[in-house]
Every structure is written in C-alpha cells, then in structure tokens.
C-alpha cells in the first residue's frame, strides 16, 4: 500500500465455504460469497441479517479465529494471521473466566502485559505488587461500567447477565483495542437492561473512539447504536434472477442523527423508515432483490460481485476449509 489507506479493516473478495461432502465432488456449501467491505477507524458498524447468514463468521474472520477460503481480510493493511491484542471481543455468553473474580477478570489482560511468565510462575514480590495495583485499578474501573467496588470480589456466577456483560466489556476495553468485536452481546438480556447497555457502549465509544463492529438481531438496536448499518443476507438473486448462493452485503447505509444519538430519535419517522428499509432488504426471505437493487448508499459501500455456484465449486489450489 503506497498511498495512505483510509480503511482500518478491509474484506477483499472474502469467501467462506465448506465442501458439501468429504470429497468435494458435489460442490461446496457457501456461507459468504465474495464479500467486499471497507471500514474506517472509529466507525460504529452494526451488522444485521437473518439467522445463520454469516454475521458471526465475518466477526470471526476479522478476529482471526477463522480464515477465508478465498480472499483476504486486512487490518491496518496487513492480513489477519490470528487472534491477538489488537482486537477485543465480547460474546453473548462465556465471556468471562468463571474461576476468577470480577477484578481478576478485568485485570487479566493488563496483568499479562505488565508481568513476565517467570515472574508469574515464581510468584515474585514484584509480581505480587503489580498484581495488587492492577486489581485496585480494575476495582476503580467498576464504577465506570455501573458496578459497585465491592462487586469486584464476586465470581461471575454471582452476577446477573447484565452485570456479567458489563464486566466482559470492561475486560475487553482494558486492553484499549483498536477494534472491538461484539457478537450479539445483549441478546440474552431483558429489554431495559439492553437499553442501559446500549448507552454504556455508546459512552465507552465516545471516550475511546475505537472501531466497533456490532452484530445483532435487533434492528432497532442496530440502527440506534451504529453510525453505519450493514445488512448481510442470503436472500438475493443475481442479475438473471436466479437465487444467489451464500450471503452478500445487500444493504449498506449510514444512520441518521448525530453520534451518539439522543434516545428520542427512536420515535422519529425517519428512524423507523430506516428500520423498515433494512428489514425489507435484508431480513425478508420473500424479497430476493437483484444485485442492482441493493441499497448501498454509504460512502464506503462497495458493489458486490458474487460468484455463481459453479465458480465457487471450481477446484482450488491449497487445502479445503
């Protein structure tokens, strides 16, 4: 990359597919079909789509937990080679370590950074001191995420779902990652808690301005928290009207209102029109738009160039997924 690359994350022709049988003779099952996506630093990107379309797969690709069968995932111009500190993640469940207290969970990343393996193994006085300081720091952080300092010594099992997710977010943010990946983080929470958590994550975003990729089922949530809404869907057809294989980005829209938005915006007509639009485009199985009809109005949106089923099944060099 010689010219300055404005995009922090770039999905270039990303395909994720699996052989249908072990031998690959009967073709491949396609999850993501030649997905192209550019994301700038500091964006709050909401990713929506029907169940099982591949939203979590995209997240895992950016995380480095999964690799595309074709194409590239670039972060800062470099291909993603594995999971590391640059990217933080908050899952819907299993986010915390059950055998550690809240402060130990939150301080885990920083403590790893500040101490070395021999120090930890030998339990040196230096390690003990750094640990004490890190735990104290974590305890102070609790207030910022809406917990009490004395909650710090509890184990995850003693916390409600909402409190656990707060701790999980804090645990990820302590590492000050450039990119925060959130996979339906509030899906298991009740409505009111979810609203509070949306405000929490917007607060944190305001403070840190990291890039957030936020996968959710909840359209209203997606359009409210995000600066940009992307709809990934397998309900589309190609230029000739044949049903498409795999999922592509069918919708790429900026969201109205300033950032972060006032909560009152949820009641406005403009907001609800956006919701309906995205719902119709991405989530409605009966609506299989043709490629030209996709609403790709965001400034960074790319026109998709999905492959046909035959092209996907073409023999590839290298190992199968």
């Amino acid at each position: 990359m010689l010219a300055a690359n404005p995009y922090l994350i770039s999905l270039q022709g990303v395909e994720v597919s699996y052989p249908k049988n072990g031998n690959g003779d009967s073709g491949r099952s396609v999850i993501l079909n030649n997905v192209r996506l550019n994301i700038r630093a500091g964006e709050f990107l909401s990713l929506v789509g029907p169940t099982g379309c591949g939203k979590s797969t995209i997240l895992r690709l950016i995380l480095g937990a999964q690799f595309p069968t074709r194409g590239q995932v670039l972060v800062d111009g470099q291909p993603v080679s594995g999971v590391d500190r640059d990217r933080g993640v908050v899952f819907q469940r299993y986010s915390l370590f059950p055998h550690l207290t809240v402060v130990e969970n939150i301080a885990y990343g920083p403590l790893l950074e500040r101490t070395s393996m021999p120090q930890r193994l030998l339990y040196t006085p230096a390690y003990r001191r750094i640990r004490r300081e890190s735990l104290a720091e974590a305890r102070e952080y609790l207030v910022r995420i809406g917990l009490n300092p004395w909650d710090g010594d509890k184990f995850p099992y003693e916390l409600s779902g909402g409190m656990q997710q707060r701790v999980a977010i804090a645990q990820a943010l302590m590492m000050q990652p450039k990119i925060l990946l959130m996979d339906e983080p509030f899906g298991a929470l009740d409505h009111n808690t979810r609203l509070a958590m949306q405000l929490l994550i917007l607060d944190q975003w305001e403070d840190y301005r990291m890039t957030i990729i936020f996968v959710t089922h909840d359209l209203e949530e997606a359009c409210y928290v995000g600066t940009r809404v992307i709809g990934l869907s397998q309900y589309w057809s190609d230029d000739e009207g044949k049903p498409g294989v795999g999922a592509v980005i069918v919708t790429d829209l900026p969201t109205p209102g300033g950032h972060p938005k006032p909560t009152a915006i949820r009641a406005t007509a403009e907001f609800n029109a956006l919701l309906e639009q995205v719902r119709h485009d991405a989530l409605d199985p009966a609506n299989r738009q043709r490629l030209q009809q996709f609403n790709l109005f965001h400034q960074d949106a790319l026109k998709p160039e999905p492959l046909s089923a035959a092209k996907v099944s073409e023999a590839k060099e290298g190992t199968d997924a």
């Binding site: 995380l63 937990a65 594995g82 999971v83 590391d84 500190r85 990217r87 933080g88 993640v89 899952f91 469940r93 299993y94 986010s95 370590f97 059950p98 055998h99 885990y108 990343g109 790893l112 950074e113 393996m117 930890r120 184990f155 995850p156 099992y157 003693e158 645990q171 990820a172 590492m175 990652p177």
Partner: protein, 269 residues
Amino acid sequence: MRSFFRTDAQPSGVATWLLSILLFGLLIGAYLAGSYYRHQENPQDKVMPTVSEMLDGLKRAAFEPDRNGDLRLWIDTLASARRFGIAIGVVLLAIPLGVGMGLFPYVEAVFYRFIVFFDKIPALSVLPILFIIFGLDELSKIALIVIGVFPTVALEAHLRAKSIPREQIHKAQTLGASEPEIAYRIVMPQIFPKMLETIRLNLKAAMLLLIAGESLAATVGLGYRIFVVRRYVAMDIIIPYVLWMTGLLFLTDWFIQWVIRRRYVWVDK
C-alpha cells in the same frame, strides 16, 4: 404400602434416620446372633469373633508391639498410605497431560491412542509383568495403581479441556495470553475441581489395586496383613482392618469433597 412408593414422600428426620440404620441393624444383628451361637458350640471359634474379641484384636494391632517391636496397625497404615500417596501424586500429572491433549492437536495425536490402549488393559493383568520387570517391592505396587488410574484421569481431563467453549479461548487470546498460558492458567484451573471429583471417584479402584498388589507381594501393609492372617483364620484382625480401611476411604472422600466446596466455590454454578 402405597405410601412407601410415593415420589413426593417427605419422611421426617427421625424416620429417615431409623430407616437408614435398619439394614445395618439387620446385618449386625445377624452377625451377633451367628457369632453367639457359634461360640455356644465352640468357644474357640475364630470364624465369627465376638465384638470384644474384635476390639481385642484391634487393640493388639494398634498398641502392642509385635515380634519386631512395631505397632502393626500403624506401620501397615503408613506403608499403604505411602504407596497410595505416591501413586496418586503421579496420577495428578495426568491432569496437565490431559489438558494438553485436549487443547493441542499435536499433543493429542501423540498421546491419545496410547493412553486409550492402557485404559483398556485390565490393570490387574499387568501385575505379573510389573513383578517380573520391577521386582516385588514398592515400585511395582505403585506402578500398578498408576497404570490403573492414570489413563482414566488423563482421558477425563482431555474431554473436559475439549469442552471448554472456544469463545473463552479466543477471549484469552485477545487479552494477550499465549497458548501455554491459556492451557495452564485458564483451562486447567477451571477443570481442576472436576478432576478432584474424578480422582475421588477413582479412590475405590486405586485402593483395590493397592490391596491386590500388597496381597501378592509385600512384607507390610493393610492389604498384606489381612491376607497373611487369613491362614490363621484371624477374623478378629481381618474384620477390624477392613472396617479401618473403609473408614480411611470415607475420610479421604469427605476431605476431597470439603476441599472442593471450600476452595472452588464457583464450580458448577
């Protein structure tokens, strides 16, 4: 009778206690009756000693030095405990091995089938081989327990490590944890209380193998003693020894349960 088989029955504390000792009472009662009648016919009967005879035998073993000046009960207990303790210590190594197998596919490839093979070998059948290779003293007896219990613990740790959700592992990686760090500071501490449970459940098998080894080739030990005095039909030693061993197993079992409850409050919640 119908109320006996109600699933929603709630027996009172007293009733439960009484019913619990019912079968014990029957067994002890039958024994005492049998012992009494045998002693009526033959006061020297050794097959079913009376309670006072058994207490006597226990006192002798515990407090009266034998030919070599040792107190039998305690040196036997000590010898057996030593073998048992060393074996369990070695078995604990199965936990990090199992975790390694569960998390690292290369490690699994090397060890898995090998351990499964040893898991299927009936441990006792290996004993003659152990005696031939290692002789008749401590090593073969400890090795027997290890061969019997190590594979079970390793395979259990392997399964549990595999079933740690991938999300946790990825989370740890985003926090900067290296692979060994993940294995031994995140996965292993989580499954350790479950491994303690597994070891607790395998105490019985370990004890079995210990007694088998001792019964065949030893000069001291709880298993050795009960088999050696069999020739003299010394039931007044054997029965107290059996009860003593059962009691020790109970204590160890309770101790492990207590440790898990106290130190690992978070498990299974």
